[in-house]
Amino acid sequence: MKTPDHDNLPSEDDDGISRRGFLECMTWAGTGVLWMVNDGLPRSLGLSSAQAASAVKSSPLTFLQISDSHIGFDRPPNTDALATLREAVAKLKTLPGKPSFMVHTGDISHLSREKEFDDADQLIKEVGLPVFYVPGEHDVLDEGAGKLYRERYGKGSKGAGWYSFDQDGVHFIGLVNVVDLKAGGLGNLGEDQLKWLEGDVRGLSASTPIVVFAHIPLWSVYPEWGWGTDDGARALSYLKRFGSVTVLNGHIHQIMQKVEGNVAFHTARSTAFPQPAPGTAPAPGPMQVPAGELRKWLGVATVNYVPGKKNLAILDAPLMG
Protein backbone atom coordinates (compact mmCIF):
# COMPACT_ATOMS: atom_id res chain seq x y z
CA MET A 1 0.00 0.00 0.00
CA LYS A 2 1.18 3.51 -0.67
CA THR A 3 0.55 6.74 1.09
CA PRO A 4 -2.27 8.60 -0.61
CA ASP A 5 -1.17 11.56 -2.65
CA HIS A 6 -3.39 13.85 -0.76
CA ASP A 7 -1.63 17.16 -0.40
CA ASN A 8 -4.55 19.05 0.98
CA LEU A 9 -5.51 17.40 4.25
CA PRO A 10 -8.81 18.68 5.55
CA SER A 11 -8.31 21.17 8.28
CA GLU A 12 -10.35 21.25 11.42
CA ASP A 13 -12.52 24.30 11.72
CA ASP A 14 -14.52 25.63 14.61
CA ASP A 15 -17.50 23.38 14.21
CA GLY A 16 -15.48 20.24 13.70
CA ILE A 17 -14.83 18.67 10.38
CA SER A 18 -15.54 20.74 7.31
CA ARG A 19 -17.86 19.47 4.65
CA ARG A 20 -15.12 19.86 2.10
CA GLY A 21 -12.84 17.78 4.24
CA PHE A 22 -15.45 15.12 4.65
CA LEU A 23 -16.04 14.86 0.92
CA GLU A 24 -12.34 14.65 0.24
CA CYS A 25 -12.03 11.75 2.60
CA MET A 26 -14.97 10.01 1.08
CA THR A 27 -13.53 10.01 -2.40
CA TRP A 28 -10.08 9.27 -1.19
CA ALA A 29 -8.74 6.30 -3.04
CA GLY A 30 -5.68 5.87 -0.85
CA THR A 31 -5.21 3.60 2.09
CA GLY A 32 -7.18 3.89 5.31
CA VAL A 33 -8.40 7.06 6.89
CA LEU A 34 -7.79 7.30 10.61
CA TRP A 35 -10.26 9.54 12.35
CA MET A 36 -8.56 10.98 15.39
CA VAL A 37 -10.94 12.76 17.65
CA ASN A 38 -9.41 14.84 20.42
CA ASP A 39 -11.19 17.41 22.55
CA GLY A 40 -14.12 17.37 20.20
CA LEU A 41 -12.13 18.25 17.10
CA PRO A 42 -11.92 15.45 14.59
CA ARG A 43 -9.03 15.28 12.17
CA SER A 44 -8.53 12.77 9.47
CA LEU A 45 -5.03 11.64 8.69
CA GLY A 46 -3.82 9.79 5.67
CA LEU A 47 -2.05 6.70 6.83
CA SER A 48 0.54 4.39 5.54
CA SER A 49 -0.06 0.90 6.85
CA ALA A 50 2.97 1.32 9.13
CA GLN A 51 1.45 4.43 10.66
CA ALA A 52 -1.85 2.68 11.06
CA ALA A 53 -0.13 -0.24 12.74
CA SER A 54 1.64 1.95 15.27
CA ALA A 55 -1.52 3.94 15.90
CA VAL A 56 -3.41 0.85 16.94
CA LYS A 57 -0.64 -1.13 18.61
CA SER A 58 -0.72 1.04 21.73
CA SER A 59 -4.39 0.27 22.13
CA PRO A 60 -5.58 -2.40 24.52
CA LEU A 61 -9.02 -2.65 22.97
CA THR A 62 -9.54 -2.97 19.26
CA PHE A 63 -12.72 -4.11 17.61
CA LEU A 64 -13.94 -4.28 14.04
CA GLN A 65 -17.03 -2.92 12.37
CA ILE A 66 -18.61 -4.38 9.28
CA SER A 67 -21.91 -3.29 7.80
CA ASP A 68 -24.48 -3.68 5.06
CA SER A 69 -23.28 -6.89 3.48
CA HIS A 70 -26.67 -7.25 1.67
CA ILE A 71 -26.10 -10.89 0.80
CA GLY A 72 -28.52 -11.71 -2.02
CA PHE A 73 -28.10 -8.35 -3.77
CA ASP A 74 -27.09 -9.10 -7.36
CA ARG A 75 -27.55 -5.97 -9.43
CA PRO A 76 -25.27 -3.24 -10.70
CA PRO A 77 -22.94 -1.95 -9.44
CA ASN A 78 -22.31 -5.28 -7.67
CA THR A 79 -23.70 -8.51 -9.05
CA ASP A 80 -21.96 -10.57 -6.37
CA ALA A 81 -22.29 -9.17 -2.86
CA LEU A 82 -20.98 -12.47 -1.49
CA ALA A 83 -17.68 -12.03 -3.32
CA THR A 84 -17.12 -8.56 -1.90
CA LEU A 85 -17.99 -9.81 1.60
CA ARG A 86 -15.37 -12.51 1.08
CA GLU A 87 -12.85 -9.79 0.24
CA ALA A 88 -13.90 -7.81 3.29
CA VAL A 89 -13.33 -10.85 5.49
CA ALA A 90 -9.88 -11.26 3.98
CA LYS A 91 -9.20 -7.56 4.65
CA LEU A 92 -10.32 -7.87 8.27
CA LYS A 93 -7.82 -10.66 8.82
CA THR A 94 -4.95 -8.42 7.68
CA LEU A 95 -5.86 -5.29 9.64
CA PRO A 96 -3.31 -4.26 12.26
CA GLY A 97 -4.00 -4.81 15.94
CA LYS A 98 -5.54 -7.74 17.74
CA PRO A 99 -9.27 -7.21 17.64
CA SER A 100 -11.37 -8.61 20.47
CA PHE A 101 -14.57 -8.92 18.52
CA MET A 102 -16.53 -7.58 15.59
CA VAL A 103 -19.81 -5.69 15.32
CA HIS A 104 -22.07 -5.99 12.31
CA THR A 105 -24.33 -2.97 12.05
CA GLY A 106 -27.07 -4.60 10.01
CA ASP A 107 -28.38 -5.36 6.53
CA ILE A 108 -26.60 -8.70 6.72
CA SER A 109 -29.02 -9.99 4.09
CA HIS A 110 -30.86 -8.28 1.27
CA LEU A 111 -34.24 -10.00 1.66
CA SER A 112 -34.07 -11.79 5.05
CA ARG A 113 -33.83 -15.21 3.42
CA GLU A 114 -32.39 -18.18 5.33
CA LYS A 115 -29.93 -18.84 2.54
CA GLU A 116 -28.69 -15.25 2.61
CA PHE A 117 -28.10 -15.42 6.36
CA ASP A 118 -26.45 -18.84 5.95
CA ASP A 119 -24.08 -17.56 3.27
CA ALA A 120 -23.17 -14.49 5.33
CA ASP A 121 -22.56 -16.56 8.46
CA GLN A 122 -20.34 -19.02 6.62
CA LEU A 123 -18.01 -16.23 5.53
CA ILE A 124 -18.11 -14.06 8.62
CA LYS A 125 -17.16 -16.90 10.92
CA GLU A 126 -13.87 -17.18 9.01
CA VAL A 127 -12.74 -13.99 10.76
CA GLY A 128 -12.58 -16.12 13.88
CA LEU A 129 -13.97 -13.51 16.26
CA PRO A 130 -17.16 -13.20 18.28
CA VAL A 131 -19.66 -11.09 16.30
CA PHE A 132 -22.26 -8.77 17.79
CA TYR A 133 -25.13 -8.01 15.46
CA VAL A 134 -27.93 -5.51 15.19
CA PRO A 135 -30.52 -5.90 12.42
CA GLY A 136 -31.00 -3.62 9.41
CA GLU A 137 -34.38 -3.12 7.80
CA HIS A 138 -33.40 -5.74 5.21
CA ASP A 139 -33.01 -8.35 7.98
CA VAL A 140 -36.58 -8.14 9.30
CA LEU A 141 -38.55 -8.75 6.09
CA ASP A 142 -39.76 -12.24 7.00
CA GLU A 143 -43.37 -12.96 7.93
CA GLY A 144 -42.47 -12.74 11.60
CA ALA A 145 -40.98 -9.23 11.16
CA GLY A 146 -37.54 -10.25 12.37
CA LYS A 147 -38.32 -13.65 13.90
CA LEU A 148 -35.72 -15.33 11.67
CA TYR A 149 -33.14 -12.74 12.66
CA ARG A 150 -33.85 -13.08 16.37
CA GLU A 151 -33.71 -16.87 16.27
CA ARG A 152 -30.32 -16.71 14.61
CA TYR A 153 -28.63 -13.68 16.18
CA GLY A 154 -30.80 -12.62 19.07
CA LYS A 155 -29.84 -15.05 21.82
CA GLY A 156 -29.84 -13.27 25.16
CA SER A 157 -31.20 -10.06 23.65
CA LYS A 158 -34.33 -8.19 24.66
CA GLY A 159 -37.35 -7.11 22.60
CA ALA A 160 -36.56 -6.83 18.91
CA GLY A 161 -32.92 -7.76 19.60
CA TRP A 162 -31.30 -5.06 21.75
CA TYR A 163 -28.66 -5.77 24.41
CA SER A 164 -25.56 -4.47 26.13
CA PHE A 165 -22.24 -5.90 27.30
CA ASP A 166 -18.97 -4.75 28.83
CA GLN A 167 -15.48 -5.23 27.51
CA ASP A 168 -12.24 -3.78 28.92
CA GLY A 169 -14.12 -1.12 30.85
CA VAL A 170 -16.16 0.02 27.85
CA HIS A 171 -19.94 -0.36 27.90
CA PHE A 172 -21.34 -1.49 24.55
CA ILE A 173 -25.01 -1.09 23.62
CA GLY A 174 -26.62 -2.65 20.53
CA LEU A 175 -29.91 -0.96 19.59
CA VAL A 176 -32.64 -1.87 17.07
CA ASN A 177 -34.23 1.00 15.14
CA VAL A 178 -35.63 -0.83 12.11
CA VAL A 179 -38.84 -2.47 13.37
CA ASP A 180 -42.34 -1.13 13.80
CA LEU A 181 -41.58 1.96 11.72
CA LYS A 182 -44.34 4.55 11.47
CA ALA A 183 -45.75 5.94 8.20
CA GLY A 184 -44.02 9.19 7.35
CA GLY A 185 -41.35 8.63 9.99
CA LEU A 186 -37.69 7.68 10.26
CA GLY A 187 -35.88 4.96 12.19
CA ASN A 188 -37.59 4.15 15.46
CA LEU A 189 -36.42 2.75 18.80
CA GLY A 190 -39.76 2.77 20.57
CA GLU A 191 -40.85 3.22 24.15
CA ASP A 192 -39.85 -0.24 25.45
CA GLN A 193 -36.31 0.00 24.19
CA LEU A 194 -35.85 3.58 25.43
CA LYS A 195 -37.04 2.55 28.90
CA TRP A 196 -34.63 -0.36 28.84
CA LEU A 197 -31.77 1.91 27.76
CA GLU A 198 -32.45 4.40 30.50
CA GLY A 199 -32.25 1.62 33.06
CA ASP A 200 -29.27 -0.05 31.43
CA VAL A 201 -26.97 2.95 31.89
CA ARG A 202 -28.40 4.18 35.18
CA GLY A 203 -25.88 2.48 37.43
CA LEU A 204 -22.80 3.32 35.35
CA SER A 205 -20.26 5.92 36.38
CA ALA A 206 -20.04 8.96 34.11
CA SER A 207 -16.44 8.09 33.28
CA THR A 208 -17.44 4.80 31.62
CA PRO A 209 -16.81 5.06 27.87
CA ILE A 210 -19.98 4.19 25.97
CA VAL A 211 -20.19 2.71 22.49
CA VAL A 212 -23.64 2.53 20.93
CA PHE A 213 -24.24 0.70 17.68
CA ALA A 214 -27.43 0.59 15.61
CA HIS A 215 -28.27 0.25 11.94
CA ILE A 216 -29.92 3.54 10.96
CA PRO A 217 -27.97 6.62 12.08
CA LEU A 218 -29.20 7.84 15.47
CA TRP A 219 -28.50 11.40 14.37
CA SER A 220 -30.22 13.34 11.61
CA VAL A 221 -27.98 12.69 8.63
CA TYR A 222 -30.58 13.45 5.98
CA PRO A 223 -34.21 12.99 7.04
CA GLU A 224 -35.40 13.62 3.46
CA TRP A 225 -33.99 10.18 2.66
CA GLY A 226 -35.04 8.69 5.96
CA TRP A 227 -31.47 8.85 7.29
CA GLY A 228 -32.16 9.49 10.92
CA THR A 229 -34.03 8.11 13.94
CA ASP A 230 -37.20 9.76 15.23
CA ASP A 231 -36.47 9.11 18.89
CA GLY A 232 -32.68 9.04 18.57
CA ALA A 233 -32.34 12.31 20.49
CA ARG A 234 -34.14 10.78 23.45
CA ALA A 235 -31.73 7.86 23.49
CA LEU A 236 -28.80 10.28 23.42
CA SER A 237 -30.31 12.31 26.26
CA TYR A 238 -29.76 9.30 28.55
CA LEU A 239 -26.08 9.36 27.60
CA LYS A 240 -25.49 13.08 28.15
CA ARG A 241 -23.75 12.69 31.48
CA PHE A 242 -21.08 10.35 30.09
CA GLY A 243 -17.72 11.83 29.15
CA SER A 244 -17.18 9.68 26.07
CA VAL A 245 -19.91 8.36 23.79
CA THR A 246 -19.27 6.84 20.37
CA VAL A 247 -22.17 6.02 18.06
CA LEU A 248 -21.54 3.59 15.21
CA ASN A 249 -24.09 3.18 12.44
CA GLY A 250 -24.50 1.72 8.96
CA HIS A 251 -27.42 1.98 6.51
CA ILE A 252 -26.16 4.90 4.43
CA HIS A 253 -23.33 2.92 2.78
CA GLN A 254 -20.75 5.69 3.12
CA ILE A 255 -18.49 7.18 5.75
CA MET A 256 -19.80 10.07 7.70
CA GLN A 257 -18.46 11.57 10.88
CA LYS A 258 -19.72 14.19 13.26
CA VAL A 259 -18.91 15.28 16.81
CA GLU A 260 -21.49 16.92 18.98
CA GLY A 261 -20.46 17.67 22.54
CA ASN A 262 -19.45 14.41 24.17
CA VAL A 263 -20.75 12.27 21.30
CA ALA A 264 -18.81 11.15 18.25
CA PHE A 265 -20.94 9.76 15.42
CA HIS A 266 -19.59 7.56 12.70
CA THR A 267 -21.12 5.58 9.84
CA ALA A 268 -19.34 2.72 8.08
CA ARG A 269 -19.08 1.74 4.46
CA SER A 270 -21.04 -1.19 3.06
CA THR A 271 -19.32 -4.29 1.72
CA ALA A 272 -21.91 -4.55 -1.09
CA PHE A 273 -22.64 -1.23 -2.82
CA PRO A 274 -22.25 2.50 -2.20
CA GLN A 275 -25.10 4.94 -1.88
CA PRO A 276 -25.01 8.57 -3.03
CA ALA A 277 -24.05 11.45 -0.75
CA PRO A 278 -27.16 13.14 0.68
CA GLY A 279 -29.16 15.03 -1.91
CA THR A 280 -26.84 14.25 -4.82
CA ALA A 281 -29.28 11.84 -6.53
CA PRO A 282 -33.06 11.59 -6.93
CA ALA A 283 -33.19 8.72 -4.42
CA PRO A 284 -30.89 6.83 -2.04
CA GLY A 285 -30.68 3.67 -4.18
CA PRO A 286 -27.41 1.95 -5.10
CA MET A 287 -24.89 4.39 -6.56
CA GLN A 288 -23.56 3.31 -9.95
CA VAL A 289 -19.78 3.42 -10.14
CA PRO A 290 -17.36 2.03 -12.77
CA ALA A 291 -16.72 -1.67 -12.18
CA GLY A 292 -13.02 -1.05 -11.66
CA GLU A 293 -13.73 1.42 -8.89
CA LEU A 294 -16.40 -0.41 -6.90
CA ARG A 295 -14.00 -1.62 -4.21
CA LYS A 296 -12.83 1.89 -3.44
CA TRP A 297 -16.36 2.58 -2.23
CA LEU A 298 -16.66 -0.55 -0.10
CA GLY A 299 -14.88 -1.23 3.14
CA VAL A 300 -14.65 -2.13 6.81
CA ALA A 301 -13.61 -0.28 9.95
CA THR A 302 -11.35 -0.79 12.95
CA VAL A 303 -12.10 0.97 16.22
CA ASN A 304 -9.52 1.52 18.97
CA TYR A 305 -9.98 2.53 22.52
CA VAL A 306 -7.09 3.70 24.71
CA PRO A 307 -7.92 3.99 28.41
CA GLY A 308 -7.72 7.58 29.58
CA LYS A 309 -8.25 8.96 26.11
CA LYS A 310 -11.62 10.54 25.68
CA ASN A 311 -12.25 9.44 22.15
CA LEU A 312 -11.95 6.29 20.16
CA ALA A 313 -9.96 6.20 16.95
CA ILE A 314 -11.71 4.77 13.93
CA LEU A 315 -9.84 3.48 10.91
CA ASP A 316 -11.91 3.10 7.76
CA ALA A 317 -10.25 0.76 5.31
CA PRO A 318 -11.56 0.45 1.74
CA LEU A 319 -11.50 -2.97 0.04
CA MET A 320 -9.23 -1.53 -2.61
CA GLY A 321 -6.85 1.41 -2.61
Binding site: R75, H110, H138, K182, G184, L186, P223, G226, A283, G285
Partner: protein
Amino acid sequence: MAKLLVGRFHRLERLACLLAPLLAVGTVFADDLVVQAADSSGEVKIANFTFAPQTLTVSPGTTVTWTNTDDIPHTVTAEDRSFRSKALDTDDRFSFTFTTPGEYTYFCSLHPRMVGKIIVKAGDTKP
Protein backbone atom coordinates in the same frame (compact mmCIF):
# COMPACT_ATOMS: atom_id res chain seq x y z
CA MET B 1 -75.64 8.61 -23.82
CA ALA B 2 -72.81 7.19 -21.73
CA LYS B 3 -72.11 10.61 -20.36
CA LEU B 4 -75.71 11.01 -19.35
CA LEU B 5 -75.66 7.67 -17.61
CA VAL B 6 -72.58 8.63 -15.69
CA GLY B 7 -74.19 11.88 -14.68
CA ARG B 8 -77.31 10.15 -13.49
CA PHE B 9 -75.23 7.57 -11.78
CA HIS B 10 -73.38 10.25 -9.87
CA ARG B 11 -76.58 11.78 -8.62
CA LEU B 12 -78.00 8.43 -7.73
CA GLU B 13 -74.79 7.51 -5.95
CA ARG B 14 -74.91 10.63 -3.85
CA LEU B 15 -78.38 9.62 -2.78
CA ALA B 16 -77.19 6.06 -2.21
CA CYS B 17 -74.45 7.30 0.08
CA LEU B 18 -77.07 8.88 2.25
CA LEU B 19 -79.09 5.71 2.47
CA ALA B 20 -76.87 2.69 2.07
CA PRO B 21 -74.05 2.00 -0.38
CA LEU B 22 -75.65 -1.24 -1.52
CA LEU B 23 -78.80 0.52 -2.67
CA ALA B 24 -77.12 1.44 -5.94
CA VAL B 25 -76.70 -2.21 -6.84
CA GLY B 26 -80.42 -2.67 -6.76
CA THR B 27 -81.13 0.00 -9.37
CA VAL B 28 -81.47 -0.27 -13.14
CA PHE B 29 -77.79 0.67 -13.38
CA ALA B 30 -76.70 -2.34 -11.44
CA ASP B 31 -75.24 -4.11 -14.46
CA ASP B 32 -73.19 -1.08 -15.48
CA LEU B 33 -71.77 -0.86 -12.02
CA VAL B 34 -70.83 -4.52 -11.86
CA VAL B 35 -69.17 -4.45 -15.27
CA GLN B 36 -67.33 -1.30 -14.36
CA ALA B 37 -66.15 -2.80 -11.13
CA ALA B 38 -65.05 -6.08 -12.66
CA ASP B 39 -63.04 -4.30 -15.33
CA SER B 40 -61.41 -1.77 -13.08
CA SER B 41 -57.75 -1.80 -12.38
CA GLY B 42 -55.29 0.74 -11.15
CA GLU B 43 -51.55 0.92 -11.35
CA VAL B 44 -49.06 2.40 -8.93
CA LYS B 45 -45.42 2.45 -9.91
CA ILE B 46 -42.74 2.39 -7.24
CA ALA B 47 -39.71 4.28 -8.51
CA ASN B 48 -36.97 6.31 -6.88
CA PHE B 49 -38.38 5.61 -3.43
CA THR B 50 -41.78 7.11 -4.28
CA PHE B 51 -45.25 5.81 -5.09
CA ALA B 52 -46.57 7.22 -8.37
CA PRO B 53 -49.22 8.43 -8.43
CA GLN B 54 -48.98 9.24 -4.77
CA THR B 55 -52.78 9.50 -4.55
CA LEU B 56 -54.92 7.25 -6.74
CA THR B 57 -58.71 7.48 -6.84
CA VAL B 58 -60.61 4.34 -7.86
CA SER B 59 -64.13 2.97 -7.76
CA PRO B 60 -65.10 0.15 -5.41
CA GLY B 61 -64.08 -3.24 -6.73
CA THR B 62 -60.92 -1.91 -8.34
CA THR B 63 -57.81 -4.02 -8.17
CA VAL B 64 -54.74 -1.87 -7.68
CA THR B 65 -51.36 -3.29 -8.65
CA TRP B 66 -48.08 -1.92 -7.39
CA THR B 67 -44.88 -2.63 -9.32
CA ASN B 68 -41.47 -2.03 -7.81
CA THR B 69 -39.03 -0.75 -10.43
CA ASP B 70 -36.28 0.16 -7.95
CA ASP B 71 -33.11 -1.85 -7.27
CA ILE B 72 -34.04 -1.89 -3.61
CA PRO B 73 -36.97 -3.81 -2.10
CA HIS B 74 -40.03 -1.94 -0.84
CA THR B 75 -43.32 -2.92 0.76
CA VAL B 76 -46.87 -1.69 0.43
CA THR B 77 -48.27 -1.56 3.96
CA ALA B 78 -51.62 -0.02 4.91
CA GLU B 79 -51.38 2.20 7.94
CA ASP B 80 -54.29 0.28 9.48
CA ARG B 81 -52.71 -2.98 8.23
CA SER B 82 -55.84 -3.80 6.19
CA PHE B 83 -53.47 -4.82 3.39
CA ARG B 84 -49.80 -5.57 3.41
CA SER B 85 -47.40 -6.87 0.80
CA LYS B 86 -44.33 -8.95 1.31
CA ALA B 87 -41.02 -7.30 0.47
CA LEU B 88 -41.20 -6.56 -3.25
CA ASP B 89 -37.90 -7.09 -4.98
CA THR B 90 -37.15 -5.47 -8.34
CA ASP B 91 -40.11 -5.94 -10.78
CA ASP B 92 -42.19 -7.75 -8.15
CA ARG B 93 -45.89 -6.86 -8.03
CA PHE B 94 -48.54 -6.71 -5.39
CA SER B 95 -52.29 -6.43 -5.98
CA PHE B 96 -55.16 -5.64 -3.71
CA THR B 97 -58.85 -5.24 -4.51
CA PHE B 98 -60.59 -2.34 -2.82
CA THR B 99 -64.25 -3.07 -2.19
CA THR B 100 -65.17 -0.57 0.51
CA PRO B 101 -65.23 3.19 -0.11
CA GLY B 102 -62.82 5.17 2.00
CA GLU B 103 -59.32 6.58 2.12
CA TYR B 104 -56.49 4.12 2.55
CA THR B 105 -53.11 5.55 3.48
CA TYR B 106 -50.17 3.24 3.08
CA PHE B 107 -46.39 3.37 3.31
CA CYS B 108 -43.26 1.32 2.79
CA SER B 109 -42.40 -0.39 6.07
CA LEU B 110 -38.69 -0.35 5.15
CA HIS B 111 -38.62 3.30 4.12
CA PRO B 112 -41.49 4.86 6.01
CA ARG B 113 -40.98 8.27 4.42
CA MET B 114 -42.53 6.65 1.35
CA VAL B 115 -46.26 7.25 1.70
CA GLY B 116 -49.23 6.95 -0.66
CA LYS B 117 -52.99 6.99 -0.64
CA ILE B 118 -55.78 5.12 -2.39
CA ILE B 119 -59.15 6.86 -2.39
CA VAL B 120 -62.02 4.47 -3.06
CA LYS B 121 -65.03 6.43 -4.17
CA ALA B 122 -68.23 5.06 -5.66
CA GLY B 123 -69.30 6.46 -8.99
CA ASP B 124 -65.84 7.25 -10.16
CA THR B 125 -64.98 6.45 -13.74
CA LYS B 126 -61.66 5.65 -15.24
CA PRO B 127 -59.88 8.67 -16.68
